[in-house]
Subunit: 189 residues, 4 copies
DNA sequence: TATGAATGAGTCTTCATTCAT
DNA sequence: GATGAATGAAGACTCATTCAT
């Protein structure tokens, strides 16, 4: 009798809800583990809705990853702007990164994509692009080699946060970046 | 009967073959993607053998991961011994890491476990233990903070290699580690 | 509102467009293969239109078959009239049939219904009716037995065309019909 | 509790049972209409069995059609041998065809394949091959043109039987074939 | 009335797991 | 003990049909 009442019509909202649910699940259980059922349950829509809006599960996965990518790209842009203003000193970079580490949502978005990239060649380019962007941001001030090293270190920080509850403390990040950048640190630092 | 000559009896050997095949597959396609059939084909054993030796697929997965863990542990021990002899200078650590990056097998074993750890809490402890061990090795010479930073950097190097074809060049590693360790580097370095 | 200019109101026209599209598809891909979506796409009408005009897909299928039936019935009437004028000689019948074989549209309509009749008892009566009509046309001139044989032969010709690219040559048809009718053929024929 | 007891092991028998069930269904409801479920029910095996023995439904369909093809080929061979002994006279051919029309199983096998050929190009060749074989059998005695006409007529007979309960009476077949062959029939016939 | 979004039933397919041989 | 057949529980996907707008 009481069949679940048909929901109000809202294509855009529903599509969005599905993608968001899928993106969340990607960060939580990984790309491999998402299923139509899982997404439908999380988005609280009937199973059929997930296939109505996305022709294949792969399409849905891609849309979810794209959402995460957009998130990270945005973050990246903000970072670039901040660095442009503050200068890419160990201190400013460390502060930015540390702030990013504390913002779980962004962090997870980023790592989810990079994790997925491990077994998906198409995403690999994306992961490398971000590394490249960080290097580009830091190269003017520090040269490409130190910039590369710093990017690797930053990547390590993100992974560390992904696998540990507590992020690396700010002052450790700062000191390490200063070392990588070759900054002469006065005791006052 | 005259059925295609049944393999020689060697339960331990067969079990081993299955685990090795499963471990290879974990590094190649990820934990999520392994199936009984895939492992059986790779190990060149009949399907039934995979369920004979392991009650569930999860058990088999665990055994495969354990094998990878053992591999990495062994690597870690070797590293510790080398460092004990050579001293944990930027140069010796850089050389060791760079060598490890070039050794695809070890690398993949390590990253496979860590990748799996992203979505498997039980493996997270393992991944952290390795970080901890590296920190422990470096702490006597550099203090826990610099050791922590170095461990993060090294982790970044491993991930970098996982997502890029070329490892980070040795001299960049060395310079960065020197900076992280706070070593005073002469221009001649 | 300014939604993409809604089509002009023309319910009958639209209904017709849908049925025609469905009939075309029946001849092309078979009754089993038609779907609302396929028909809507072919008729270039929105999906909803196909269900608005036909309560169920079966109703739509039936309407499509009916259209094909009407087509064939009309053809049959024309044939009857021609034969009434020309007389049902081997030559005139052969010429008519051969012309029909070359007219792909009519042919396909006919065979589509008969093919569908193989697995649909309701259509079987229709297919038999046509056979009966052909027999009726030929009986006055040739008796019911030769008329029956000729109808069978003609049916064979239609199927032959359905499964082969080239129709049976006119002179073979004519000779065969002459033989079936028991006409005395002079060598000059 | 009382879960359906697992059946005895008999791979060959089971595979056979599935193909036979599928072939039956093809003759009854058509190639398009068969589903795993339908076949499983008819063969009285669990759903999974149908996919265990055939990778895809298409494979199963093909196997079923192949079985029907084999049936018909066998029939064709028998016919060829009989004609070789008796000579391809109207009388002997008519008797053979009439007998075939009465044997429902063979008839259905034949028509099922030919019906399927209407919408499956791959089967078309098969259907044409049979026509060709009949023509080949009759050509030595009657020339290719009369043989072709006879083959068309015979095809018409088979379709007639498929759509009607009663076959065309023997004497009509015989008379028609005699006419097609151009045999001079004496009243004594 | 016209449209296309919403829903779920049903289809193919894969595969873990059980168990006869 | 070794093998692979047997079974059913999911999972992806399609689409008829309903119904809000």
């Amino acid at each position: 009798m009481s069949v679940a009442a048909r929901r109000k019509r809202d294509p855009e909202g529903r599509r969005q809800a599905i993608v968001v649910a899928a993106a969340e699940l990607v960060t939580e259980v990984g790309v491999e583990a998402i299923t139509h059922r899982l997404v439908a349950a999380r988005a609280d829509v009937p199973l059929g809705a997930t296939t109505q809006y996305f022709d294949t599960l792969d399409d849905l996965r891609d849309a979810a990853l794209q959402l995460l990518v957009a998130h990270v790209d945005q973050q990246m842009t903000a970072t670039r702007e901040t660095l442009a203003v503050q200068g890419a000193t160990a201190q400013s970079v460390a502060t930015l990164i540390h702030a990013a580490l504390v913002d779980a949502t962004s962090m997870k978005a980023d790592r989810a994509v990079v994790t997925a990239a491990v077994h998906d060649p198409r995403l690999r380019a994306m992961a490398r692009r971000w590394s490249g962007q960080i290097i580009d941001m830091l190269t003017p001030a520090h040269g490409i080699e130190r910039a590369t090293a710093a990017a690797v270190f930053i990547d390590g920080l993100l992974w560390h946060k992904q696998l540990n509850d507590e992020p690396v403390p700010l002052h450790i990040i700062e000191t390490a970046l200063a070392g990588i950048f070759g900054e002469t640190r006065t005791p006052a630092d």
